[in-house]
């Protein structure tokens, strides 16, 4: 495995037209293969994973979007990943894209990752850990303990443990993986109990940049989810009539919608700016990533919450998709740490700049 810091070719950013083409192709695939019905089917399944859909995404190059071309991927940058994640977030795509992007940042030549043949899950521990109760330790040539709330672990072939001592790879078959009864069934998580030889695959310096990629991907997913939830809510407010009027004509509803548009557009701006700064390795990338982390998480939660309120009773039913968005928003708001933590880190980053 190569050192990520010696990556020979920098990730590419596309032209405006190429980006539009990429986004269009993803959107078309998802419109066809990730309808609300598909999402419900997938989340009702044991694994929460649709292998055929994952294969189709891999064929389009999405599984290895940020894997360097030399290792079979598309070699694209965080900016393109973020745009794809907006589309994925809009339709609640249940697929291990964020985990894959982090894994690609940690270990660019991870076997089978680019082709979608193998799935990687990543557990952050130590300084970049966010899940309580993690007990992973490296000593005497072995890695032992339990990593908690590891996204996609139950469907993974490889588990990467990314901590203060470096990045270690474990075959999923060598770990004891206990799926958790998660509230958001689109984002499966598991506890991973490990007792294995410590096989180091990357330096500890790779961890923070990889985590940033994960945050950018999640921020894009949240921005896309917020936008779709708002579109759905506004469309309903135009159609639903009470008191002989569309409910969207009432200022009580209209003003909420205007406020949510500000939230949703701000989330998009924050996610794209963070992606840009990460791609450019800008000096202020830390602040941009932290801002995107809490701005996008908070925006999605608020849009999903208020969106349900604006719909009224229909969105209180299981059969309406709104609750799926709120569940997704709530799980994203914990992944990689909560908004209060990110707000504090944002201020710390600004203090370092000032």
């Amino acid at each position: 495995m190569t050192d990520t810091l010696l990556r020979p070719v920098p990730p590419a950013t596309l032209t405006h037209d190429e980006r539009s083409a990429l986004v269009d192709s993803v959107r078309r695939l998802l419109a066809d293969r990730c309808t609300e019905g598909d999402v419900r089917r997938i989340i009702d399944s044991d694994s929460g994973h649709d292998r055929a859909l994952w294969r189709a995404l891999a064929d389009l190059g999405i599984a290895g979007l940020t894997v360097p071309e030399a290792h079979g991927g598309a070699g694209l940058a965080a900016t393109e990943l973020e745009l794809v994640m907006e589309e994925a977030g809009a339709v609640l795509l249940p697929a291990p894209l964020i985990s894959g992007a982090i894994a690609a940042a940690l270990v660019p030549d991870l076997d089978g990752l680019a082709a979608g043949e193998r799935i990687a899950a990543v557990a952050f521990t130590g300084r970049h850990g966010w899940a309580p109760g993690d007990t992973v330790a490296v000593a005497g040539g072995r890695i032992t303990g339990t990593a908690r709330f590891v996204a996609d672990a139950a469907i993974a072939d490889t588990i990467l443990i990314a901590g203060d001592d470096g990045v270690f790879a474990i075959e999923a078959a060598d770990a004891r993986i206990t799926p958790l009864p998660v509230f958001d069934r689109t984002r499966r998580m598991a506890d991973v109990a490990i007792d294995a030889p410590a096989r180091q695959v990357a330096d500890a310096a790779a961890v923070a940049p990889a985590r940033d990629i994960g945050v950018v991907a999640l921020a894009g997913e949240q921005a896309g989810g917020a936008r779709r939830m708002l579109e759905m809510t506004v469309a309903y407010a135009r159609e639903r009539h009470q008191f002989g009027r569309a409910i969207g004509s009432f200022q009580a509803i209209k003003h909420m919608a205007a406020d949510l548009l500000l939230e949703s557009e701000s989330a998009t701006s924050a996610a794209r700016d963070a992606a840009q700064q990460v791609a450019e390795r800008s000096a202020s990338a830390d602040a941009a990533v932290a801002l995107a982390a809490f701005a996008c998480a908070d925006a999605f939660v608020r849009v999903a919450k208020d969106g349900i309120q604006m719909h009224g009773g229909i969105a209180f039913t299981w059969d309406h998709p709104a609750h799926l968005y709120l569940r997704r928003a709530r799980s994203g708001a914990q992944l990689f740490g909560d908004s209060d933590g990110w707000r504090d880190r944002y201020l710390t980053a600004l203090e370092a700049q000032a």
Binding site: R238, R245, G248, S249, A258, T268, A354
Partner: protein, 399 residues
């Protein structure tokens, strides 16, 4: 002309003519920069997108930006007024031929002071409910219009030569359809300007009492009774400007400027390690940064030819930012915020900003009106039914 030739021409012109400005200027009233602005106008740089026979150079948007960038690079004002000059754009679009030829070049050179005569004590958010009247003077008595009414929230009225006025010219049709748009000469008997003391104890605005004041026939802009349409283009300019910029602290004290001023104050006040304070400071800074990112994205999307819904959000966003920043400043100061006066500049700032935030959240359309606009024009939600929309204005209940 190629981009390089244009760049060479404008840079050469600036090198030959630009020698800096007189020290101080006011944004309303006669502009001491007039001499310079006149040169810019005569060279066609003031409005490069306008046609060559209309004070411009007929340039594309991209080429006009080359001109604007060249001016910005040396700090010279006056270019790109085809995007920024509310008065000149309104007059160009709507003034009758003769008056347009007279007034537009003077507006471009800042030779005439201008003010806005829209709001009235009885017509704030419901601007179409104005009761200032303009009555036609019969042609056999010399023609023109006689105007009577009261206007409010007028900046620069005391030094203005003209006011952009909306007045009712037909009382027997619904309210939006009986309004006309005029350039009212301000320096005449019958126009009385009184300063209006604001909650900040400043007086940036005036009340204007108009009693039988005269407007020549050719000072009507747009069609008779078509003033509401003229007003909409003028208002859009004003609102977009308010989202981009707002006043900072009055005293200039209280730490470094910009995004980090709250951070500076938090340090000064010794509160930067308080986790509760950190959350609130970070969130306030975040909102300001997000607004900046939104504006930058909107501009980039417009440049790519994609229409952007974000532009209309800036003013609403800025209202929240200003109110919240003032609240956090007050939180940081604690009891010190009870004080005022020159010995307490940090308290002065916090208290001033807390009150002046309403300039943005009420002025130029309240946040509530702005939410209606976003809901209706951006999100396509239906209008609230209005009981007076179809009534002849004479029958509309007022007060």
């Amino acid at each position: 002309m190629t981009d390089d030739e244009l760049r060479a021409e404008v840079e050469g012109w600036l090198a030959e003519h630009w020698r800096g400005l007189p020290a101080h200027h006011e944004s309303f009233g006669r502009d001491p920069r007039s001499e310079w602005l006149g040169k810019v106008r005569d060279a066609g740089w003031a409005v490069p997108r306008w046609p060559v026979d209309r004070w411009g150079r007929g340039l594309s948007n991209e080429q006009a930006r080359i001109v604007e960038r060249a001016f910005a690079a040396v700090g010279a004002p006056g270019a790109g007024q085809d995007r920024s000059n509310l008065w000149a754009n309104t007059a160009l679009a709507h003034a009758a031929d003769g008056f347009r030829e007279e007034i537009v070049p003077r507006l471009l050179a800042g030779e005439v002071g201008m003010c806005l005569l829209y709001s009235e004590p009885g017509a704030g958010s419901d601007l179409a409910a104005i009761r200032t009247r303009a009555d036609k003077v019969p042609d056999e008595e010399g023609g023109g219009w006689r105007v009577t009414g009261q206007k409010v929230w007028t900046s620069g009225a005391a030094v203005a030569d003209y006011g952009m006025l909306i007045a009712r010219t037909d009382w027997d049709v619904p309210k939006h359809r009986g309004i006309s748009f005029f350039f009212l000469p301000m320096k005449q008997p019958g126009v009385e300007v009184r300063p209006l003391r604001q909650i900040t104890d400043e007086a940036h605005f005036n009340e204007v009492f108009i009693t039988d004041a005269f407007v020549p026939d050719d000072h009507l802009l747009g069609p008779l009774n078509g003033g509401w349409g003229v007003l909409q283009t003028a208002l859009a300019y004003e609102r977009s400007v308010m989202g981009d910029a707002a006043r900072g602290p009055r005293s200039g004290a209280g730490g470094p400027k910009g995004d980090h001023s709250l951070l500076g104050l938090a340090r000064e006040a010794g509160r930067i390690d308080d986790p509760v304070v950190r959350q609130q400071v970070a969130q306030a800074i975040a909102w300001r940064t997000l607004n900046r990112l939104n504006t930058a994205r909107a501009k980039a999307e417009l440049a790519q030819g994609t229409s952007s819904p974000i532009m209309s959000l800036g003013k609403l966003a800025m209202s929240r930012i200003l109110h919240e920043e003032a609240r956090v400043r007050t939180l940081l100061l604690g009891a010190e915020s009870l004080l005022q006066g020159p010995d307490h500049p940090r308290a002065e700032d916090a208290n001033f900003l807390a009150l002046n935030a309403y300039f943005t959240s009420i002025g130029g359309g309240t946040d509530q009106i702005q939410r209606n606009i976003i809901g209706e024009r951006v999100l396509g939600l239906p209008r609230e039914p209005e009981v007076d929309r179809a009534l002849p204005f004479r029958e509309v209940r007022a007060g």
